[in-house]
């Protein structure tokens, strides 16, 4: 048995997962229109390679990666490019962002593609390239380009590859049903990752509230050396840093990467995407999304094309708009509320949560902090949330950084336990944003200062040079005058008279 470690803090909110796992994964089908945001991942947005009116096939690349930390996008089904313009997307800001809009034709006509039978014969870099070309970004939530995560510096040795099937956030069951129904693909995807990374051990970590998923993973991993490990349910076990501590007992250094301690973490959904990319040659064009909450009649999981509008799924699940007070993309702890019901599903959309008011009530006005310390006991990063709250209120940014504000993973455990209902995470987000903005401003003013100083130096140099030339000319003139007055050399006036006389004589003689 593998030793299981624990992490500081954590909470046990009601899980509310049973509602959406009663039925198997359902194919959502093809909506009339797909809206593909150009930025569905961390890094530079992709840039379109198609134009309006162009016909595209399913799986055809419609936008290419721009730079190293970027990924391409592919058409989720066949159709025509309807528009390339700004649309409202699922982002906390509610601002529109550039999207490619596809009018689907319903044929679902694939572009020619082919999978590999024998991936082990390929160079590792070639496999990583294929993963990049398939447009795969972390499916757990952050959406970091998978190929970048896999491009490890050669001097770093990875000891542990972790496949994250924790899914600790309440309500969400997308990974759970994936583990139940597609365990074989997860294991195959993990084998590909293992081949690329060559770790000493490969572990699939799952919380013990998913016995069905664990059983099917164990069956699928039977003849491999992949270890399926279960551990006690506690939020936020699925946070990358927390999961690493649970499975290895080691902590990722602050500001560092898991690879610094020899660990790479990938989500189970990402493993399936890699399986599809390598074995079937299919890019990432669909995902599993949970639709749940009391404002939908039949909560369930959908296999949905990226770019599908949320309301298309909501309708299929029996959405009751009048009972729904807010629409959340993601879970109740870390998800964000969307401004409209028609924003598109993206690569990181693991859940649409449509709660009723009684289910997730509107938060009451915050009461005063009574320094009870429940937040510090719940914090999985061992921070002092209430101290940070005071500093945020007072805009004491230096103290905030001293208290390791940037180690906050925004899991929401502190706000969840706060008896005074203080929206603590909101304070930290805002403080982080302001500190980052201040750093950028600082950098900018640093640059302007350097530019200004360089210009001043250049002008000064020019002035000095001019001064030097002038001094030299002056000196030369003085020397000439001195020579003349001392009788040395010819007298300039006499010389001029001589020249005039000679000229006159020449005129007369002609």
């Amino acid at each position: 048995m593998r030793k299981i470690y624990s992490f500081h803090g954590g909470i046990h909110p009601p899980e509310n997962k049973h509602q959406s796992v009663r039925t198997p994964i359902e194919l959502a089908g093809i909506p009339e229109q797909l809206t593909i945001p150009l930025s569905q991942h961390i890094g530079a947005p992709s840039s379109p390679v198609v134009s309006v009116g162009e016909r595209v096939l399913k799986g055809q690349m419609i936008a290419e990666a721009r730079g190293f930390v970027s990924i391409p996008l592919h058409a989720p089904t066949s159709g025509t490019i309807d528009a390339i313009e700004d649309r409202i997307i699922a982002h906390p800001s509610g601002f529109p962002a550039p999207c490619i809009v596809i009018a689907t034709d319903g044929d679902d006509h694939w572009i020619a593609h082919q999978g590999l039978e024998d991936y082990e014969s390929l160079e590792r870099t070639e496999l990583v390239n294929q993963i990049r070309n398939a447009g795969i970004a972390g499916m757990g939530g952050a959406g970091f380009p998978t190929a970048v995560k896999l491009s490890i510096k050669p001097d770093i040795k990875i000891t542990t590859l972790i496949i994250n099937g924790t899914e600790c956030e309440p309500y969400i069951t997308a990974d759970d049903v994936l583990m139940r129904e597609r365990a074989q693909q997860i294991v195959q995807g993990a084998m590909i990752l293992r081949h690329i990374i060559n770790p000493q051990e490969t572990v699939i970590g799952v919380e013990d509230n998913k016995p069905e998923g664990i059983a099917s993973l164990q069956a699928a991993a039977k003849n491999t050396d992949i270890d399926v490990v279960q551990f006690p349910t506690k939020y936020p076990s699925g946070g990358e840093k927390q999961l690493i501590e649970i499975l290895t007992g080691k902590q990722v250094p602050s500001g560092g990467l898991p690879s610094d301690i020899g660990v790479i973490c990938q989500n189970v959904g990402t493993a399936v995407a890699i399986y599809n990319a390598i074995f079937a040659g299919e890019p990432l064009i669909s995902r599993i999304t949970t639709v749940t909450g009391q404002a939908v009649e039949s909560p369930r999981n959908f296999d949905v094309l990226l770019g599908t509008p949320m309301d298309f799924l909501l309708e299929k699940a029996g959405y009751q708009r009048e009972n729904n007070n807010r629409l959340i993309m993601g879970g109740p702890m870390m998800g964000f509320s969307t401004p409209r019901t028609d924003v598109p599903i993206v690569k990181t959309t693991n859940c649409i949560l449509a709660p009723t008011e009684s289910e997730l009530p509107t938060p009451p006005p915050a009461q005063a902090c009574i320094r009870c310390g429940l937040c510090a006991q719940a914090c999985p990063a061992s921070l002092l949330p209430q101290q940070m709250f005071w500093f945020s209120q007072g805009k004491e940014y230096e103290k905030l950084e001293d208290h390791n504000l940037f180690d906050c993973i925004e899991c929401g455990a502190c706000s969840w336990v706060c008896p005074s209902s203080i929206p603590l995470v909101q304070y930290y987000r805002s403080a982080k944003a302001e500190i980052l903005q201040a750093r950028r401003d600082n950098e900018k003013s640093e640059q302007s200062r350097a530019r200004f100083e360089a210009r001043e130096a250049r002008l000064e140099q020019l002035a000095l040079e001019r001064e030097a030339k002038r001094a030299a000319r002056k000196k030369a003139a003085e020397e000439r005058a001195k020579k003349a007055s001392s009788g040395e050399g010819e007298d300039p006036i006499q010389a001029a008279i001589e020249r005039a006389k000679a000229k006159k004589a020449a005129q007369e003689s002609s």
Partner: protein, 348 residues
């Protein structure tokens, strides 16, 4: 209905400040029952009068500060202050004594500092100390417990409070007082001489302390606070007592059990030291905070001028709480030991 736009987390746990405060109030009930049984209705009248005054002063303060009344009154913090002060004051205290105390607690110790959550000192303890220094006579007039004298009835209790001139109460030195004043006896003799002593400590006092201990354990079970501060305080008080107790003479300060079950020890440990607003916050900090309070309580009880010391000890440590917090900041995830980013404590 437009879709609401708020940031995560969207879910919230079951705990609320009002519920915390109500739990604290509920946990004082066994102690109040025992006090009433042994000392009569004086404590109850104290608490009721204090509660009325506290709500009135709180309303005035909120009104002056232009805060919504209902919202703030519903946090029940004023009632907790009133209850704790009502318990701490001697039974059959006159109305004006309680009024001065509550006025000081709510108006000055609480609202002048910014209200709930902003007060650096425990309001009930500030009031207690102010009264003890200003009105020592009234503050040390403890009624004799059942078994050591006549208990006044309810009417007498009301009279004692509201027409103190007509009330002719009997008072008796408390066990802590007696121990302080007698330095040349054997404990056994002291026990024989004075009717105020019970099985382990003061008659009545010991059961009141056990009742407050029970209330405190229930609050621990309800996770209203952590065990760190109260346990550290009781252990350090016990340690001090066992260090200086010689086993029998009244000059040596009393046994650990005597100190645990005397005066306001358990009330202090579970209802005052645990006040989150004025105590240290980190768990390690709470250990330090509690332990120092325990040591101070013993020092003041045995060598100080006052027989009991919870209020002084708590106020002194209230001063030190931010300092303790500064030096007990926990190691955050991904930071090595001692790798706090904090530079102002470092030798440059």
């Amino acid at each position: 209905m437009a879709l609401m736009r708020i940031t995560s987390p969207h879910a919230h746990g079951p705990m609320s400040t009002s519920r915390l405060m109500l739990n604290v109030l509920l946990a004082t009930v066994p102690g109040i029952i025992v006090l009433t049984h042994f000392f009569g209705f004086g404590t109850l009248v104290n608490i009721l009068w204090a509660a009325i005054l506290a709500l009135a002063f709180e309303s005035i303060a909120l009104k002056l500060r232009r805060r919504p009344l209902g919202f703030y009154l519903k946090d029940y913090s004023a009632l907790v202050t009133a209850t704790l002060l009502g318990i701490a004051l001697p039974p059959y205290a006159p109305w004006w004594l309680i009024a001065v105390g509550i006025g000081f607690a709510i108006l000055i110790a609480k609202h002048l500092y910014g209200g709930m959550g902003y007060n650096p000192f425990n309001p009930a303890m500030v009031a207690y100390v102010v009264l003890l220094i200003s009105f020592p006579l009234q503050m040390t007039a403890w009624a004799p417990p059942r078994g050591a004298g006549e208990l006044p009835g309810l009417v007498d209790a009301l009279q004692a409070c509201f027409t103190p001139a007509n009330f002719d109460g009997v008072t008796l030195a408390t066990p802590l007082d007696l121990l302080k004043q007698n330095n040349s006896l054997l404990m056994e003799d002291l026990w024989q001489q004075s009717p105020q002593f019970g099985r382990w400590a003061g008659l009545g006092w010991e059961w009141a302390n056990i009742a407050f201990l029970a209330g405190g354990i229930w609050l621990l079970y309800k996770r209203v606070f952590t065990w760190h501060a109260p346990v550290a305080m009781l252990l350090s008080l016990g340690l001090m007592a066992s260090l200086f107790y010689d086993g029998g003479s009244s000059a040596s300060g009393g046994s650990p059990l005597f100190h645990w079950l005397s005066g306001a020890t358990m009330l202090g440990a579970f209802f005052i030291v645990t006040d989150p607003v004025t105590s240290a916050v980190s768990l390690r900090g709470r250990l330090v905070y509690g332990a120092l309070i325990g040591a101070l309580v013993y020092l003041i009880r045995v060598w100080g001028n006052y027989p009991d010391a919870i209020a002084f000890a708590v106020l002194i440590m209230n001063f030190a709480a931010p300092f303790i917090d500064h030096y007990t900041q926990p190691r955050s995830y991904g930071h090595s030991k001692g790798d706090s980013n904090d530079h102002d404590g470092e030798v440059q």
